[in-house]
């Protein structure tokens, strides 16, 4: 027993001697400084790549550990970290971590909000689908009676309101994504990009955007829209399309490596183009209807330039044909185009929509009206205003003469 104790004691002594005989490798101040700088840099990276609040808490512990580990070298680091110092370096990390935590709180709030929005949008998608089917059925029903027409009107109004509400929600979703996308996608870390992708998935973003556009297109197809309705829809389309144009390229960059999603972005782009074209066609179609309803035959047009050119050439043809048609007939034609179509319908209802949406310019509108004025001159020559002035002038002269003569007579008397 004693022997064992002795051996243990000797081993311990030897171990201690071994430890004290080996000199610890000296560390250079530069090495310490570089190590500290590297640790700070690593923590900064970890903060950037943190995925949730739990990771942030772990980083907080790392910062505390760093502070304690290097506290003994504070004097050295204060000098060598110029222009920073030990405290400011640690402080920077703490601030970056606080900001990152703030991001997560904001993202959490947005996610909760989006979750609620998603449910609402799903309900509205279903409601809109049912309404569109009902309208289509009523439209197909032959010999609509008053009751059916009233019911159709109510359905259309209900669908319009419901679409508007859903569009607003979807636009809100895209808008919230824009706020998350404050950074250039190239500057986002892999983790941030992944977070973005899962956010988009969670919101059913592509589905909802495409559904919104498709429903609006269907709505246009199954209903007769007034100028105000179309104007409203065009505004909606322009606003939505503008937001998409801001976010689309950024999404494309995030999804660069994901072919399926890249395809969805392309499809959404082309849907926006179709929606825009369809609205423009609806506007021009309605303008055309106004001309056709009065049997005014203007050559087909698809844009403002063609529209203004074709009306101009129609008027010039009419002026050219004036001797053949005769003044009376030409006057009738003029009144039909000018009074019944242009001033009473097209200019009042559709020209503001066309100009607001850059489909027609003020100059093109003026060209049409100048040509109408020119035609008017030909068919209604400057009427007898000259005679009225002449008669008025004569009357004034007579009054003056009578006045002069009477006053002279008074003086003679």
């Amino acid at each position: 027993m004693k022997m064992v104790k002795l051996l243990r004691f000797a081993a311990a002594i030897m171990a201690l001697a071994f430890v004290f005989n080996i000199p610890a490798a000296a560390q250079s101040d530069r090495e310490k400084t570089d190590k500290f700088k590297n640790s700070v840099q690593k923590i900064e990276e970890t903060i950037k790549n943190a995925k949730d609040v739990a990771e942030c808490k772990a980083i907080e512990t790392q910062i505390d550990k760093l502070r304690n580990e290097y506290q003994a070298d504070k004097a050295l680091l204060d000098k060598s970290l110029y222009p920073d110092d030990f405290n400011s370096s640690v402080e920077k990390l703490t601030t970056a971590l606080t900001l990152r935590k703030g991001d997560f709180t904001q993202i959490h709030e947005l996610r909760t909000e989006v979750g609620t929005l998603k449910d609402q949008v799903t309900d509205l998608n279903k409601k809109n689908y049912d309404l569109i089917v009902e309208i289509q059925n009523l439209n197909r029903a032959a010999g609509k009676n008053k009751k059916a027409i009233d019911s159709l009107r109510t359905l259309v109004a209900s669908l319009r309101a419901s679409l508007k509400e859903r569009d607003k929600l979807v636009m809100g979703m895209v808008d919230s994504l824009l706020t998350e996308f404050t950074k250039d996608p190239a500057g986002l870390t892999e983790a941030q990009q992944q977070g973005m992708i899962s956010g988009i998935k969670n919101k059913n973003l592509f589905f909802n955007i495409q559904r919104t556009i498709n429903d609006n297109i269907k709505f246009m197809e199954v209903t007769q829209l007034t100028a105000d309705d179309i104007s409203e829809m065009k505004k909606q389309q322009v606003k939505f399309s503008k937001i998409w144009r801001q976010i689309g390229p950024k999404l494309a960059e995030v999804y660069l490596s994901k072919k399926e999603s890249a395809l969805q972005i392309e499809q959404t782009n082309s849907l926006f183009t179709s929606w825009n074209l369809l609205i423009n066609n609806q506007i021009w179609g309605n303008v055309d209807k106004a001309f056709k309803s009065k049997n005014v035959k203007i050559l087909p047009y698809e844009n403002g330039t063609q529209f203004s050119d074709n009306i101009k050439s129609y008027i010039q043809d009419q002026i050219k044909n004036l001797p053949t048609l005769g003044k009376d007939q030409s006057l009738k034609e003029f009144q039909l185009l000018s009074d019944s179509v242009w001033f009473s319908s097209v200019k009042k209802e559709w020209v503001p929509v066309l100009i607001d949406n850059n489909l027609l310019t003020e100059a093109q509108k003026d060209t049409i009206e100048n040509n109408l004025a020119m035609w008017k001159k030909q068919v209604e020559p400057p009427f007898s205003f000259g005679w009225i002035y002449f008669a008025l002038g004569g009357l004034i002269v007579v009054i003056v003469i009578v006045f002069v003569v009477t006053s002279r007579k008074k003086r003679t008397l």
Partner: protein
């Protein structure tokens, strides 16, 4: 008259002596840590923190007698409280002391540390000395020589 000339001469001399002996003391030129600088293909080093650059080819030639020995090497350099610069590098047997003279690093002295050349030298500021460490060996040095 002769007396006045002497007084005037003495006065001028003392004024001139006064100007030339102007000295600002309590100076501290010490760098907190050494700079470890990469040598470029032309043999130049640039220290952005302390804003200077210099060609160190002659130093490497002095140490190794090889005009290309500076290739892909680093130079460790530190300045002490008095303003002397200490330079060394991996494989060097010596530590070199420099002072600034007429726009150049002028060698003030050099001290041999290891005949076989140092494996991993590093320098720390330990006023009034510079501590040179190479693995587990430590040396204190100043412009007067090695202290340990």
């Amino acid at each position: 008259m002769q007396k006045y000339k002497i007084y005037l001469g003495v006065l001028l001399l003392s004024a001139a002596w006064g100007c030339s002996s102007l000295k600002l003391t309590q100076a501290d030129f010490a760098w907190p840590v050494e700079s470890v600088l990469k040598i470029d293909a032309q043999g130049n080093i640039t220290d952005n923190r302390f804003s200077y650059s210099v060609n160190v080819k002659p130093l490497f030639f002095e140490e190794t007698k090889d005009s290309l020995s500076y290739n892909s090497k680093e130079l460790r350099i530190i300045r002490d409280v008095k303003g002397y610069y200490y330079a060394t590098s991996t494989g060097f047997k010596n530590i070199y002391l420099f002072e600034i003279k007429d726009g150049a690093f002028q060698m003030y002295d050099k001290f041999q540390i290891n005949e076989q050349g140092m494996n991993n030298p590093a320098m720390n500021q330990r006023p009034p000395y510079i501590e040179l460490i190479d693995g587990d060996k430590k040396y204190l040095v100043n412009n007067e020589g090695l202290k340990q």
